[in-house]
């Protein structure tokens, strides 16, 4: 059941020979890693939910406040959601408007699929650079959160920036796999890897 989600239609089973291609091994590694990271991020969010419940209990029943819930949950949200970026990319979860390009010839659409992947990887590479910069500035200034914990900000920001870097590496890995499939004349494989999601994919993701 879990496998259905992880692999979905990324690795068509009718081509057993792909096992030997290095880029396909890279792909399954990327898929596994991204899924693990997203799950970890999910548990961070789940933990944040639990902490919020503790805070409500503390306030309503004990008449106090943990004083740390809003800060820690904010970090969990930033880090957890960014940790899921690679998985979202692997699952082709980013919104693309293909109303126009769906009428273009196949090779052109493949080129656009590659461009789409390059664009999101490229933009978030810029974000990753500046996220790292933010963490670094926090480190140099000794910046601390203005909260009870006075958390040194470079710690959560550093982890967060690292998640962005992993996203960029994921983008590069998928790009390599797509190009390799293109060279091996496997347009279907390219489409299932980086093509826009169909309505059916969309529904499946929510079921």
């Amino acid at each position: 059941m879990m496998d259905r989600i992880a692999k979905s239609d990324l690795a068509p089973p009718e081509r057993p020979d792909t096992e030997d291609v290095p880029t396909e091994r890279l792909l399954s590694l990327t898929q596994g890693l991204s899924r693990t990271l997203a799950l970890a991020g999910g548990f961070l969010i789940l933990g944040a939910g639990a902490l919020v419940a503790v805070e409500i209990f503390a306030r309503k029943v004990l008449g106090g406040s943990t004083g740390i819930a809003d800060e820690l949950t904010a970090y969990a949200l930033a880090i957890g959601s960014t940790m899921a970026f690679p998985y979202c990319l692997v699952e082709r979860g980013h919104i693309r408007v293909d109303s126009v390009v769906r009428f273009l010839p196949r090779p052109l659409r493949t080129a656009l699929d590659l461009l789409a992947l390059a664009s999101i990887t490229g933009f978030f590479a810029v974000v990753a650079f500046h996220a790292a910069e933010t963490a670094l500035v926090s480190f140099e200034r000794g910046a601390r959160a203005v909260t009870l914990l006075q958390t040194p900000l470079f710690i959560p920001q550093g982890i967060w920036a690292l998640a962005y870097v992993i996203f960029v590496l994921t983008g590069i890995a998928i790009f390599l796999v797509a190009v390799s499939r293109l060279i091996r004349r496997d347009p279907k494989g390219v489409k299932s890897l980086i093509g826009p999601r169909s309505g059916k994919d969309e529904a499946e993701a929510h079921l």
């Binding site: 306030r59 106090g64 406040s65 200034r141 601390r144």
Partner: protein, 325 residues
Amino acid sequence: ADVTLRVVGQPVQNILYTQGETPFFAETLPALSDGRIAAELISAEQLGLSGGEVTRMLSNGAIEFGSGGLNQAVGDAPRFEGCDLPGLTGTLEEARAVCDAYRPVLEKTLEEDFGIKLLALAANPPQAIWCSDPVSGLDDIRGRKIRIFGQALTDFVNGIGATAVAIPYADVVPALQNGVIDCAITGTLTGNTSKWFEVAGYLYPMSLGWAVQYWGVNLDRWNALSEDQQELIEAAYADLEPVLWDLAARATAEGIACNSGEGPCELGIEADMTVVEISEADAETRTAVIRDSILPAFAGRCGADCVADWNDTVGKATGFELAAE
């Protein structure tokens, strides 16, 4: 114009923006320079900034000219809140005098640590406590749940024996109404224009800070200007500063007048709140909380050099003294 300044300003509803920055950048500055200097002003709010990011962006050059709250930058440099700690100063005049005394410290921190040139300082109406249930003094507030923002206010609220709760500004009205919180802290005029008086009948106007703002320019951008331009802009900001303080004084007066429904009210909405008188005993409590909670915590955050600087400036102006850790 020879040069057009890109300026990031105060929140759009704020009098410092509407009657201070807007006419200054649209008319005063161009007039003073015979049209050689123009400016395009936009509120930080319209840029999607919550205010805390402005200092870092002035520092890295993403913002050229801008203004931001000192309290919003304390994470990067604890010194920033030195002249605006909760309850440190009782009146706006006092706050102005104390921040003037502290100016060299701010100037140095901004320039050396952040690459920002300080151009002006000003403030807002006081941060006061708004409560839904009757209040006659600090004693009544003990044990209540109070919406705060920032650690210094948490220190103060804990210092008077209340519980600090962090919730977003937009949710304060329903939270006050249904009892998630009993009281909330914000500026007397800000809360008024957000209609807090509809759910909070009691205003306890002890100032817990003045949301002191600084106006500055990225140093690289500043150095790219000619000497003439620099002189002109610096002089213009020096003229702007008293205007801003006057606006703050007017807003402070109206903050009380609007909420109580007594006196002229043009900037806010006339309401019918009970504005509590601050007793002698409460003033003493305030001094004790500052001395025993706020200042030691500040000294701990700020470090030894900062303590020395503070004692030389704010300490002399207020009569308090920080002990180094």
